[in-house]
Symmetry: C3
Subunit: 158 residues, 3 copies
């Protein structure tokens, strides 16, 4: 029977998202079934920078949507961000090594059939609508995450 990995992506930072997506891409290349459950800040990664709905949003939800990163390239580093300078430096170092960027790993994961789950409770609280996030996203509850996780060989909270 096939192997499974389930990641719980809680953090909303460039470097942690890199780690998650590198694992997801590598796992798919090894034919491991991969599900990522995005909750809280993790949802920032999946935002489409070109779609921002204000319909059915409270004032707080609109403010929150405007103040927070929109999609992979806007995520800050978890350390040494220095208002973006540290991140710029890391990006230059990645370019020198011809390493793919976060957006490339995200595209890779989508093409390779990683399953994308969004936490319903987090989306309700933050006011994110399904159409503001990547189209593959399925909106599920924590229970669904736990069911998948129970059957997985690898589970990580990132």
């Amino acid at each position: 029977m096939g192997k499974k990995m389930t990641l719980l992506m809680f953090s909303g930072e460039y470097d942690k998202a890199m780690a998650a997506l590198i694992l997801a891409n590598s796992a798919r290349e090894m034919n491991i079934d991969v599900t990522i459950f995005f909750s809280f800040w993790g949802l920032f990664l999946l935002r489409d920078p070109n779609v921002m709905s204000t319909e059915d949003k409270t004032t707080y939800e609109k403010m929150f949507g405007m103040m927070t990163p929109k999609g992979p390239e806007e995520l800050p580093l978890s350390k040494m961000n220095f208002s973006g300078l540290g991140k710029q430096m890391l990006l230059e170092m990645m370019k020198d090594d011809e390493a793919p960027r976060l957006i490339d790993f995200l595209e890779g994961a989508r093409k390779k059939g990683v399953r994308f789950y969004g936490c319903k409770l987090s989306m309700d609280i933050m006011g994110f609508k399904k159409e503001e996030l990547i189209p593959e996203l399925e909106v599920v509850t924590a229970q669904k995450y736990l069911e998948d996780s129970l059957e997985s060989d690898i589970q990580l909270f990132i």
Copy 2:
């Protein structure tokens, strides 16, 4: 045989504690056995805000006890805390959605029979006494955590 989940709660932040306790409550509703091992900053969540012992504490331990969050409602956010403003905004957004607060999830976990372990070494270093923390807490070593973890279907470090 029953399924088990063991969480290692290392972080002392409102949003990460929410994530841990939502998982714990959901898992109990699915009849999954749940243990949370609280170490380092994670212990802040279990402090009783009305009990602060100074007996048998060094000066550093007393200072540390005063400077750090006392119980669930005092925990900061891991991101966007903005000296409490960001947290206030999140709390308002949760209220708009009638989402329970952290304290409710903690009460729920206690009522639903989640097992609470406190890391002995962390408690010794930080100077926290058993009577300053929730009464259900059992003080155990890292070895006890590992024994439980080995038998678990889900393990996460939060």
Copy 3:
């Protein structure tokens, strides 16, 4: 058959490294096989403070090497670091309890036969050379980590 634990050490902070190495030492005492895969900031822990190569490094890589912590004792706390004051306080509290320091737990892990893996991609990007890190380190890919992790009873992302 023997039990196995695989840690993915992503963070580069004193307290998180303590947590990882306490688990690693305790697990080895219980005869559990332990592998730690160091990626991103986690590699800082393994730097030899006395060896710093500038050969074959780009300007960014040299700068990065100089700006970032060199070995266990230079790592900051993940919380309450206060430019090192909070860390100093924690170290004093640890001394009062005769708790070992991070460097002792690292030495313990090396003596007890913990397996040390370094993430090849992270080392390439950050410009760290094998000779700048502890001699036990094996440089491996994410796939190797996943293979080990699939066979492990405990996996944590720290």
